[in-house]
């Protein structure tokens, strides 16, 4: 529906896509106005296989009063470490965060677009999306990446959010995992991990997980599990005390919303974990 009474829009004004009422999705607007900016605007010829950096092992753990999501810092390209201090966990809005595993470049672009989409919706509508709405939006973006995934550029996120409408505030932290086709799965067992080191991380969490832990306890469990993943998976990086590169940890609680733990706190937790493993 155009902003004009005579059926054509004025020549020097913004194109009609800007004035379409009823659409509060930034992704849909980009598709109409600038489709080349979408992550799925990548033409991959048949049978191509691109070498690109991959990021790995994200863990998410619920605790009493919230949820936590943490990721290691290594990005690999084949046998080479492409980046030592990559950030793979991002705060996407006040009550949600996403960690990514898979092709780093595409994944970061998807998370960036996701965060802008959430904020865009909130500005247009005046209220935030519900947690399920946010999880569904992310699912649609992963679905759009399926062609690239088949060419070897898969992206698999892990979504953690605080449900402000949950009946029990102690159990309001929620984890949603995805597969490469965009399928979304609610995680009810309290923890989840994605990436090449996820099996090792989940085995560790099977013994370390405590649903009534506080944020500090949950962070400790997460860093322990990332350490175990790094121990057995070459594509996952452990805490680097020499360079002071530690996992990125984001906690989401009612009081503070989604916050990235400071470098000092993460360093303290990681160094304690490393000390505990000393023989």
């Amino acid at each position: 529906m155009e902003n004009s009474s005579s059926g054509r829009y004025p020549s020097a004004s913004l194109p009609p896509a800007y004035f379409t009422p009823g659409s509060s999705s930034f992704t849909d607007f980009l598709r109409a106005q600038a489709p080349e900016l979408l992550p799925s605007a990548r033409r991959l010829p048949e049978g191509s296989h691109v070498q690109a950096p991959h990021g790995t092992t994200i863990v998410a753990v619920t605790f009493k009063g919230g949820v936590l999501i943490a990721g290691d810092r290594r990005a690999t390209m084949g046998n080479v470490i492409a980046q030592r201090d990559m950030k793979k966990v991002f705060v996407t809005d006040d009550y949600s965060a996403v960690g990514i595993a898979g092709t780093a470049g595409i994944a970061i672009e998807i998370v960036r677009l996701f965060a802008v989409d959430l904020r865009h919706y909130e500005k247009i509508e005046g209220v935030s999306l519900s947690l399920d709405g946010k999880a569904n939006r992310l699912s649609a973006m992963i679905k759009g990446n399926l062609d690239a995934a088949m060419a070897g550029l898969a992206v698999v996120p892990l979504f953690a959010g605080f449900d402000t409408e949950a009946p029990d505030p102690d159990r309001a932290g929620r984890i949603v995992s995805y597969d490469v086709t965009g399928g979304r799965y609610e995680e009810n067992q309290g923890y989840q991990a994605v990436g090449s080191g996820s099996l090792f991380a989940k085995s560790a969490l099977k013994k370390l997980y405590d649903p009534d832990a506080d944020a500090e306890g949950a962070a400790r469990a997460a860093v322990e599990s990332l350490y175990d993943a790094a121990d057995d998976d070459t594509a996952t990086g452990g805490p680097d005390t020499v360079r002071r590169i530690y996992p990125v940890i984001v906690t989401i609680t009612a009081a503070e919303g989604a916050v990235t733990l400071s470098d000092e706190r993460t360093a303290a937790i990681a160094e304690a974990v490393v000390e505990g493993r000393r023989v």
Binding site: S4, S6, P10, S11, A12, Y18, F19, A34, G126
Partner: protein
């Protein structure tokens, strides 16, 4: 009435201006002013859900008067413009100036090319990292754009409010003082005050928001409820009667009531 065979362009544009001005004067006013820590928006708005003041981007705010459907459409277009610029480049590359220019071009085109102009007047405000970098742009229905230094008054009886603000406004006000100045200014131009009605607009009729210079990410913040009450100016006794005044214009049933057991306003002088 027969359509004239020929109407001069001046006549056509003059008629359109008249039409737009009348539409804007029929509505309620909005005041945008600078204070020590940023930019304050105060709108006379009885509705708590249909907003006249809104966030466009991290440090850019939008206020409008006139026809709601039209300025709501412009508001959404502005948000899309800012978000696509910020996404393509970087959030720091989105400026109030570029947005104001786009609005000016859009409004100007619609004014000259469409049969009916948009009956809106809008203000685009950007809070800078330093007080000298704050900007407020006023855009009128015909695409004129003005960079205002201290305050912007739009809609309704704007002259009465502007006159009041000339005396009340000073640079570097605190937030509470700035709210007081704005509410007093709006109240002197409002049709819901004076003549047996309370002298000042109360919380239920106001929409207040700020762009705060030092907020880390998104500068825009609405001020509602008790936080707003604390900043409203006013004669201590008069404030309580306002909520049950039978002569007050009611925008909608959704606004929360204050203490409802007070006698109606007519009984008091």
């Amino acid at each position: 009435m027969t359509m004239p065979l020929y109407a001069s362009p001046e006549q056509i544009l003059r008629d359109r201006s008249e039409y737009a001005r009348k539409g804007i004067a029929r509505g309620r006013s909005v005041v945008v002013l600078r204070y020590a820590d940023g930019i304050l928006f105060v709108a006379e708005n009885p509705s708590s859900t249909l907003h006249k003041v809104s966030e466009i981007y991290d440090r850019i705010g939008f206020a409008a008067v006139g026809r709601y459907s039209e300025f709501e459409n412009l508001r959404q277009a502005g948000i899309r413009f800012a978000d696509i610029r910020g996404y393509q480049n970087d959030p720091r590359d989105v400026t109030g100036r570029s947005l104001a220019n786009v609005y000016a071009q859009t409004l100007g085109s619609i004014f000259t090319e469409q049969i009916k102009p948009l009956e809106v007047e809008i203000c685009v405000a950007e809070v800078g990292h330093l007080p000298e970098q704050d900007t407020m742009y006023r855009l009128t229905y015909d695409g004129s754009i003005v960079d205002e230094p201290q305050y912007v008054v739009m809609g309704g009886q704007a002259e009465a409010t502007t006159t009041a603000l000339k005396d009340l406004f000073s640079d570097g006000l605190s937030l509470a003082d700035a709210v007081g100045v704005a509410v007093r200014g709006l109240s002197s131009g409002s049709t819901s005050t004076g003549n047996g009605k309370p002298d000042l607009l109360d919380r239920a009729k106001l929409e207040v928001a700020v762009l705060e210079r030092d907020r880390p990410r998104r500068a825009f913040r609405r001020i509602v409820g008790a936080a707003l009450d604390a900043m409203l100016p006013g004669e201590p006794a008069a404030e309580e009667d306002v909520s049950t005044s039978p002569t007050s214009e009611k925008g909608g049933p959704a606004t929360p009531a204050k203490d409802v057991n007070l006698p109606p306003n007519d009984d008091k002088a």
